[in-house]
Symmetry: D3
Subunit: 318 residues, 6 copies
């Protein structure tokens, strides 16, 4: 059973909207090696797991799988922010009705030339369950052979590929919003790489100097280095509310990344930051409520008028 | 941010393995109107939500979305149980090595004639992210227009269609394992139908006698009736750890199903039941550890010997 | 612009329901070489056609394309009839509410073992836009290079492949409902083969004895022979309401099938037969109206009570 | 059975070619909520319809479905016009052979940077059965549960989403060719919204002020306003040749859009405008006939020489 | 550049036709972890390889990739044999015209209940590029990150998964035709597992007892044991015509499978067996030549009459 | 059984990197009518071929099929070269560790605006198994009806469409690297067109002036003309190592293209040119070996130090 708290797992830096960067990040969300895939793959591997004696392995997979849902939430929100207000639409925001197109305006014209047109046409400047060339996420991505060594080997490869792709995305844009999330995920992917590599070590493998994959010089990626200095690549949270996870039996000892750190599974979860609801985009008809509908919402018993005025402006009598 | 507890949201009744029923349930897991879809759709609608004043609507969607992850876990586990040990394989369970095929045996022969062959060939008698004819789940299923009335209308239709399909699955099999989960989801889908219908009521719509969809006589589905008598179709849990959900502002008052009940959003979560790890299936090479590998796991510091012996049998020296 | 008349292009023979035959016919509806494909391919080729001097070629394509919509209607209705009442459900038809599942019944059990489970689970014993292994129809099937000789060559191959597959379906079942439509389409596919072959003849090609493809002995397929004796393989209707089609400039002279007939494009359309609405299937919740909803429909001004009683039975006061 | 007349359902304004706008319109043709989808969905719902007493509902669906075929024709032709001659290629049009590439020319270079490269590479500057990011149309889009309230609810949502997307496309371009068709479809989608909303009203629902979705100010979209002033959002044509449609029993009374109009189902069809065949594009080898092949066509009995000269220029002896 | 010789890489045992077994083998041909995938993945990895100093790694991949084309040929031919003459059709083979359907016969009826209907309907009792549930092979399967350690890790996992699936297929059928090819591929997959494991050893990894994956007891699979006794799991052929492959620098020393053998890369290719063309199937219209067409082929200058008579029987004058 | 030699079938001209041209060429590699498709289609048609007397037809298909593998290799390598070093990255190449991102650099920024972002993000500036809009290659493209006339007709259309698309690509770019391969394939596609047209001639068809398709003036495409002057459109190689191919019985006599040449099947294979391994791209982490891993490779027994130094630069002690 799963629970939620209205906080993001990591903070997102502020910067200008950037639809092209938003599109690159879609690979990390809905791509074959993105967060939706890790989330689903680990959920299926956990449900279908066999062999009670191997519970610590199951708990490693399940704990990382729970974290990946929060990663979907993080990267999805990041994409949404990179798109929000891009193109910058200066409608008459005091009128709770749409005014796009008035006077021949084409406020969404940018959609024809940058990133993924679906961000403006199918969604309302929000994240989509697709990769960076627009292919929808597919259930055929999920790997779950049921053979433990194979599933672990695949997961190690999967996390390393995710990290490789995020390193490449880092090199594609210097937008601070994009980089803050990409850097965080590069480091967390390494933590997961460490987890699966360690699980395979417990089955006898000696990785020597092969890890991490890819080989990077942290100091060349400043946002990444900051997080490595905090040791985030060597921590694994349980996200387990009842303390039943045995992941710590595996996630301990020297890091397989050979960076001199010791693996630590003692924390339940990071602190996170409050999540915030995005503003309206009238040019997208989103949320698309006119004065009458807003009035209806206002009439709902316990709803504070203040909130409404804040976000819709003063409501005109039609 | 998401958390997990090692409990299933509802109990699963025991019965014989049944690969054909397992396959029918795949529609409820990985089908176009199954639980993976509701889970993902509500996750995207929550991340991309616009308009702070409409937070109660977001919280309704987010709360149901969190519940859907537990539904994926529930129906996936149910499918796994319906497949487990089917076909019944009587290998030499005391030898921690596989013995399938010995003496010309074809223990997986049933895979050629019943249900989905991938259940035995690609997975190890576990659930798959596909529908009942084997189509992989697709990101193109997710609907998130960003227009609130449209998203609510779609969600109402989605829950009703899910419920319709589960009513039809109910009529396809009387396997108790399958029916216990199907009946539970029929009732919870109605609760979600009520939630979206109520949200649209707050925007002015009067449904009169149209709901619920489909129209059913509860007394004809005994497992369903038992849950309706408990009022489960009129409760919505928040699954919110910090009490910030405002879903209760919407999910209140008379049920749009016109069954005389009052909607209740006061509980955080159902109690659930402990989840259990499935036994090994040697004919699937799952988990696929031989004596050497088991010995390595045993050597892991804090792992109790008792667990290992229970599940792998006495370990022979090779 | 398109128009419709509530008639089927050909009659459908009566026989027992047969879900396996229904599934085989899906190839002819939603398969890569089925009627949805020809319909869409010719519609696109007509819209995108280039070169006014070649109008007769465009009109051949457009006329056949219009016929294909009626073929979709015919084969879809045939599939629906093959599924209708299969499995035979003997519910209490006088009660306009569903009773499936009462007393532990599993009226849809047959869906687990025959044909395509989606026929019962996703649809309500009706045709689906998929092929005989359940793959959804895809826009990638449509071929429209814009090069006239290539488009004609493709169309000839397409019609011949459609005819080949229908000959194979004929050999898979002797259900009279299935065979009546399959035989009709075998003959009409040959007419279309003749049309494209003739168009290529007007560009100089001499087919000699290659056509028709595949080579068949009509007398071995009695239902086919009956239609050949009527000369249906050598007629092409215009389906053109204003008499502007110039298809007759091409579809004339000796048949490329070398069967001794002369091509004839003088008729606008076949006579057809009245189309009939299928009965309710309560076990599918289709159409799913209870007494209250039926009463509402009854209250609609001009609707005759007689119709309602005929199809729903006497309406009980709830 | 279907018929055709060589007229477009609405006129298309003239403007410059615009491949990026053409690509945006592909969403309205081959997208998940485009005209191919409505056309196919209503065709399947009509074929598989159950319950003779509900014939007026079937006839509403069937009539709109027939109109959608003409919408496919309209938007496909519009896309074709937006692409035609773009890039502007000035070949030696008097030579009925291709001259592209001569002297190192790259007449199709624009295909590498604007819109969908397949418009030039796979098609010959014509419409494709794909959406605006190039995904082929899929049969999995078609929704036909067989449950009448659900099918109606889905159709209402579908038309509203189509209208929402077209409003967004309107804001992406001010090309007059694109806007003339987009504006027409915005208004017709509203008519269909009204039809399904009214059908649900006859089942008891009271929409109050929720419709239309999305809420727009007509005066902000001048091309739309002109059509609304003509009342096109409140008319539904039968497209029925034999006067058997009973759609008028439902499509009558006050408009659910609450715009003060009365619904009117008295007309069979709009007048339309003559359709025109596109000119040749030698750089695409379309239609791709050289002097020899043109001569062959000329030799065809009743074909007027004038036509040929008009479109191919004087034919040189090779 | 590639060359071919008309020989199969391994012999195929004779047995009865078996469409269900044929379908299971489709996973090994067109499945996500089948031979088409390994063939394409290694072809792409070879073309896109970077780093001249790592040529021996490239040559390992390229050599295995070449072998995989022959594996596609082997498993495809095996499937074709398992289908050929199934259902057993006893037409009048002396008449070079088709006679299916005569007297109401339904020679292809078996297609409705066993395996994949497309084997009879789309193909003519031959292999298809799909997996065992009918999903077409997809280019999205190909993994080629360009990072050498990752590509090697993936390839090791890929070969192990292929071997796991073939072990499961072995347990599904005891048809000798199916098993002879499955057993051969189990052993060759292990050879490829050894190759990639060894390549990673040269990058420092020590696998200890983890390999091979899955763990199997050879003596339980008699057909496999016979091949292991010949040492086929420890040989790698170069398939290189000019002796330029440096794969032997890696494929040498002790086997990573720890079975006591030494890896050997000294042979160019196995001997193989002559490939044979399948007989005609008149009920499939394959090849579909009637007396006239056969006569035409006979007239081709150098073609020996004897061949024709052998395969078509005496040619009747029509 | 297949063999390989480390040579490309044709030389590739040098020019600047050009990601947009690379993307256009993807259609020729992974598109519906590209080289992967011809390769796979002919491989399946060869494996599943029926009728020993028709062996010459099988051998035509099999020989062309073998050539297509080399075409995949050629066009894949061409794409790789068009991408390699684009964007031009000037890292510290003497350091065998990656330095991308240092000082805030965004070396892969070009990926956001040109061609297919996956070329940089998923692959390492290498070819992908997708078409020019990013759709993955699909097994559903393969056509193999088993009916010989139909398969030949399809193959003729397929080669002509491939040639048409390559003529269009030629008009999209004047990059010499792209054009050298495109021109070669235009000519070889014509050779294959001739082969299938000739095979149909042996079944009686007289093509008169219809071929080749599309009609082109060779002199307008200088790179093409050079190859036509060498007669490459009228040669077919056997690629058969044991001289068993009987393709020459069909591929002989006057060319169906009516260009006055005689078909010639006497050569085994073209000479080709040596293939070369691409340089490292550190910004892609490809191949991604650091000093430690390079040292390990160096330690491998027979590997020459010189090679390593050449490609990695002097190895620093870490």
């Amino acid at each position: 059973m799963y629970f939620h708290v209205q906080r993001l797992i990591n903070d997102i830096a502020s910067d200008e909207p950037d639809p092209a960067a938003a599109n690159a990040l879609q690979e990390g969300l809905g791509g074959q090696f993105g967060e939706m895939r890790t989330m689903m793959q680990y959920l299926f591997q956990s449900m279908n797991f066999r062999g009670a004696a191997a519970k610590p392995f199951r708990d490693v997979i399940q704990g990382i799988g729970t974290e990946e849902i929060s990663h979907v939430e993080l990267i999805g929100t990041t994409i949404s922010r990179l798109l929000d207000g891009s193109p910058r639409y200066q409608g008459e925001a005091t009128d709770p009705l749409d005014t796009p197109g008035s006077g021949g305006a084409i406020p969404l014209n940018i959609a024809l030339s940058e990133g993924n047109i679906h961000h403006y046409l199918v969604g309302a400047q929000g994240a989509l369950p697709v990769d960076s060339v627009g292919n929808p996420w597919s259930g055929s991505y999920v790997y779950n052979s049921g053979n433990l060594p194979l599933d672990l080997l695949y997961n190690l490869m999967l996390e390393s590929t995710g990290r490789l792709q995020k390193c490449r995305i880092y090199e594609m844009t210097d937008n601070a919003t994009a980089r803050s999330t990409v850097a965080y995920l590069i480091v967390r992917d390494q933590a997961h790489e460490n987890a699966y590599a360690k699980a395979l070590e417990s089955l006898g493998v000696d990785w020597k100097t092969l890890l991490p994959i890819p080989k990077t010089n942290a100091e060349k990626f400043p946002e990444v280095k900051k997080l490595l200095d905090l040791g985030l690549q060597s921590k694994q949270y349980s996200f387990d509310l009842a303390g039943q996870s045995e992941a710590g039996r595996i996630f301990q000892g020297m890091s397989p990344s050979k960076d001199g750190t010791t693996l630590d599974a003692s924390e339940q979860a990071p602190e996170g930051v409050p999540s915030v609801i995005s503003p309206e985009r009238l040019e997208e008809f989103s949320p698309g409520l006119d004065a009458d509908l807003v009035a209806l919402i206002q009439a709902t018993a316990e709803m504070e008028m203040a909130d409404v005025v804040d976000s819709f402006g003063p409501v005109a009598t039609k």
